[in-house]
């Protein structure tokens, strides 16, 4: 599958809140068909990055290009091709699900009514119900329908599935693939549920204190990033990308390319272990 068309691009982006750097020299891009899992501790800058991509937030330096336009200056046409589910629940208080969807869909020319009906049934939502009476999980489901029923070219999800049950989460992941692969969209998806990211993501972006420490295809990540235990007093060779180090235990990126002397053992890591090792 070709990853040709760039849908979202960050170029050396800096963002500060007062004196605090939130994003530092951030560069990466999403192309059609990519599902990028965004991983990082609370406060690492994930939501800031997403909001900046949508132009909700101004950046201090660098460029963000969203669907070929400057993020802070998006046309109505571009906005109608973007889907976003924020962390916080949204409005539509006082609406029934049906009337909320009717109003919401009127902003999107590409809205697919059949898809809406399917997903309402799938999530077990009753369209006559009042939005303010929904549980957190039901609100998340509704927010997902609102962000996805027009098959957006760019979908940005800020921890959207934490309150969904595992069965619905799996079905939802199937929808994400369909969107990415069949509609040629790009998805940026943050979650603390690493096992979900492992299934869903084609790529993983890892943020640590506002810096992008890793951005790789998920399979490459498992092959190239390993934890190496070195013999005592053994020095590291030149040219190795060290992500973290605790005495003789070293997390390295390109271990497959360089011969390391004095290795006691090498461990490959799943995403959760990698995350823990990176933050030790």
């Amino acid at each position: 599958m070709e990853h040709s068309e760039v849908i979202l691009e960050f170029q050396q982006v800096d963002k500060r809140f007062d004196d605090q750097a939130v994003l530092t020299q951030l560069s990466f891009s999403l192309s059609a068909g990519m599902v990028v899992g965004l991983l990082g501790q609370n406060g690492a800058g994930k939501s800031t990055l997403m909001r900046a991509a949508l132009g909700i937030l101004e950046i201090d330096a660098g460029n963000i290009t969203t669907l070929g336009e400057t993020a802070t200056d998006l046309s109505i046409d571009a906005k109608a091709k973007i889907g976003y589910v924020p962390q916080q629940p949204f409005g539509y208080e006082g609406f029934t699900i049906a009337s909320a969807l009717e109003l919401h869909s009127s902003f999107y020319p590409q809205w697919d009514k059949a898809l809406e009906t399917d997903w309402l049934a799938r999530f077990g939502l009753d369209s006559k119900q009042q939005v303010q009476k929904l549980s957190v999980g039901q609100r998340q489901s509704l927010a997902l329908i609102m962000a996805m029923a027009y098959r957006p070219q760019l979908l940005i999800l800020d921890e959207p599935v934490a309150s969904l049950d595992p069965i619905v989460r799996r079905q939802f992941m199937g929808d994400l693939f369909e969107l990415a692969l069949e509609s040629g969209s790009a998805v940026l998806f943050s979650s603390h549920i690493t096992s979900d990211l492992e299934r869903v993501a084609s790529h993983v972006a890892l943020l640590k204190q506002g810096e992008l420490v890793l951005f790789k295809e998920i399979d490459a990540l498992r092959e190239e990033v390993v934890l190496v235990q070195l013999a005592d007093n053994q020095d590291l060779p030149e040219g190795l990308t060290v992500l973290n180090r605790n005495q003789q235990q070293v997390l390295v990126d390109n271990a497959d390319q360089i011969d390391i002397a004095g290795v006691v053992n090498t461990t490959s890591l799943n995403l959760e272990q990698l995350f823990m090792e990176l933050h030790r």
Partner: protein
């Protein structure tokens, strides 16, 4: 055959390699016969709840290595054994054997002791 395949996304091993290994195992073990049709990439991905690109990568590799064949406009099938690479059942256990040997060495167990442990367990 869907029920014969399982992946563990949280193991450190890439999902496409897990899939690759399991399908080879099923072919060598005879659970998958020559000419048997495989589920589509989409069905596999849906069943396993993993990214279809990952499944597609595993299938592609198996086709390149001659385990599977794909003719134009037809579903993917198990290739004729004559064209398949000569992997023996023993080779399929190599990586597990390596894991076991590494652990044995860490515990300071010698080869003879490991062998006798195997013999002991074998007859159980």
């Amino acid at each position: 055959m869907l029920e014969l395949i399982k992946v563990n996304p949280s193991s450190g091993e890439p999902i496409y390699r897990q899939l690759h290994e399991q399908i080879v195992r099923l072919i060598v073990g005879g659970q998958l016969q020559v000419d048997q049709v495989l589920p589509s990439v989409r069905q596999l991905a849906e069943h396993l709840a993993v990214n279809p690109m990952t499944v597609s990568r595993a299938i592609q590799q198996l086709v390149e290595q001659g385990w599977l064949e794909r003719r134009r406009g037809q579903p993917t099938r198990v290739a004729n054994k004559q064209d398949a690479p000569t992997t023996t059942s023993l080779q399929l256990l190599e990586s597990q054997a390596n894991d076991l040997i590494t652990k044995a060495k860490q515990l300071g167990i010698c080869l003879d002791d490991l062998k006798s442990l195997m013999e002991q367990q074998w007859d159980k």
